[in-house]
């Protein structure tokens, strides 16, 4: 971020809740790059990802009343909106049709079934792919592809308890990598 922060999070949230255009404009200028990064980690296609990002900002605008600062930071809240919208896109019929050929090709080489090739992995996904395979696949399937732990347990034929502990260990490792 090269721009000097003019609002604190609390001020920005207050102005957003008052439906100020200037606040929305400020929010976009300051957060769109980071949120685009979050979306691109899940939806690698830039054009599709920018459609998702547009939807994310509309959702942030419409739902900002429901943001509760006592539960976490504004960015965390927005990041989760971005992740959910991205996964919704992955699951849409149109996206699946467009990616079908690509995915078939990818799965042959990539055990995690990710649609991103090594070179276009972005942000958090790039970090996740430096983890060992057991951890990598759990974060891939849960965070990037949106499967529940129950679904993952069935997909990988691993007991639910093991999925839970292994995923938590994977996340702790991820935390160490993200720290640096």
């Amino acid at each position: 971020m090269t721009e000097i922060q003019k609002y604190t999070e609390a001020e920005l949230v207050g102005l957003l809740k008052e439906r100020r255009q200037s606040a929305f404009s400020y929010l976009y200028d300051n957060y769109s790059g980071a949120l685009y990064n979050v979306v691109l980690a899940i939806v690698p296609d830039r054009d599709i990802a920018s459609d998702v990002l547009q939807e994310v900002f509309v959702k942030i605008w419409k739902q900002c009343e429901s943001y509760d600062s006592s539960k976490g930071r504004l960015f965390t809240w927005m990041m989760n909106i971005a992740r959910n919208a991205s996964i919704d896109m992955l699951r849409s019929k149109g996206y699946q049709n467009s990616q079908q050929n690509r995915e078939l090709k990818e799965t042959v080489y990539d055990s995690a079934g990710s649609t991103a090739t090594n070179t276009d992995r972005i942000g958090l996904r790039k970090v996740v792919h430096t983890l060992k395979d057991d951890y990598k696949i759990l974060i891939e399937l849960s965070y990037f592809e949106g499967f529940t732990q129950d679904e993952i347990s069935k997909m990988l034929n691993i007991p639910l308890g093991t999925v839970k502990t292994r995923l938590r260990n994977a996340l702790l490792q991820l935390r160490e990598l993200v720290k640096n």
């Binding site: 000097i4 003019k6 100020r20 404009s25 790059g33 980071a34 949120l35 790039k126 965070y143 993200v178």
Partner: protein, 284 residues
């Protein structure tokens, strides 16, 4: 409570990344309110993830902000009308009145863009409609022409079908072994005329084939006569027909002859206007 174990359990990370289930979420939210070090650990990880996302910022397409502003245009509260908001904005350090003016101007020019865009769209749609209307008109005209052409083709096809049927019937009559063919050559002075009578021995129907007859005036008509015991009997008026013309039923005749008569025919033949004649040859 052993907050350290909890902090190191991975639940906080699950929570931040949206992977925790609802029990874990409410548990963590409750514990955060009770234990400042859990709240601190949560805040730390949130900041780490946030910093990581910012360190990998990717600039979205340039027109995206404009699209969003258009999409949400109706939802923004007018900036200028609310003095409170203005005061609040000016009270924020580093955010002077010049900035609020810029925002106001942005708002106005935004509506100008909207208006300009609407006018352009209206004109474009007008042109489009005009072009489409013309296309439709010419397509309709062509369609009607095709429809007429199709009808006339169908009609002439019907005519040909009827004529073909007539010819087929004629051929069938000619080929019938019961039918007697009587040649009627042109008489003296009318040698270039020639006709044939087909006479069915069983049904006694008479059919006439005008192979080659002189053209006659509108008010005249050829009439066929059968000569029975030396007396002429009307065998029918000859009309324009394709192939064989079916005429009267004649039980007996020695001779057939054609004379030219006033339109509608005569009761007795005008012998001076005889064209063709031929004797019936008895079949052995």
């Amino acid at each position: 409570m052993d907050t350290k174990t909890y902090i190191e359990s991975g639940i906080i990370e699950s929570y931040v990344l949206g992977l925790a289930d609802s029990t874990e979420v409410s548990e963590l939210e409750m514990l955060c309110a009770q234990y400042p070090d859990i709240k601190q650990a949560l805040d730390d990880f949130e900041r780490q993830i946030e910093n990581h996302a910012f360190s990998g910022e990717v600039t979205p397409p340039a027109d995206l902000k404009h699209k969003l502003m258009l999409a949400l245009a109706d939802e923004f509260e007018p900036e200028a009308e609310n003095n409170n908001a203005k005061n609040r904005l000016t009270a924020i350090p580093g955010f002077d009145t010049a900035d609020t003016d810029t925002i106001k101007l942005q708002g106005n020019s935004f509506w100008k863009y909207m208006a300009a865009a609407s006018v352009i769209l209206l004109v474009a749609s007008g042109v489009f409609n005009y072009v489409q209307y013309n296309k439709l008109q010419s397509a309709t005209t062509k369609y009607e022409a095709l429809l007429t052409e199709r009808n006339s083709l169908q009609a002439s096809n019907g005519i040909f079908e009827t004529r073909l049927n007539d010819f087929q019937k004629s051929v069938a009559i000619m080929e019938n072994p019961d039918v007697l063919k009587v040649d009627l050559p042109g008489i003296k002075g009318k040698e270039n005329n020639h006709a044939t009578v087909y006479w069915d021995n069983k049904t006694k129907d008479v059919y006439f084939l005008s192979a080659k007859m002189d053209k006659i005036p509108e008010d005249k008509q050829y009439q066929l006569w059968a000569i029975v015991d030396g007396k002429p009997v009307n065998a029918g008026l000859i009309t324009d027909c394709d192939g064989l013309c079916k005429l009267e039923n004649i039980p007996r005749a020695e001779l057939f002859a054609v004379t030219l008569e006033p339109k509608g025919g005569s009761k007795s033949p005008t012998l001076s206007d005889m064209y063709v004649a031929g004797a019936v040859l008895k079949q052995s």
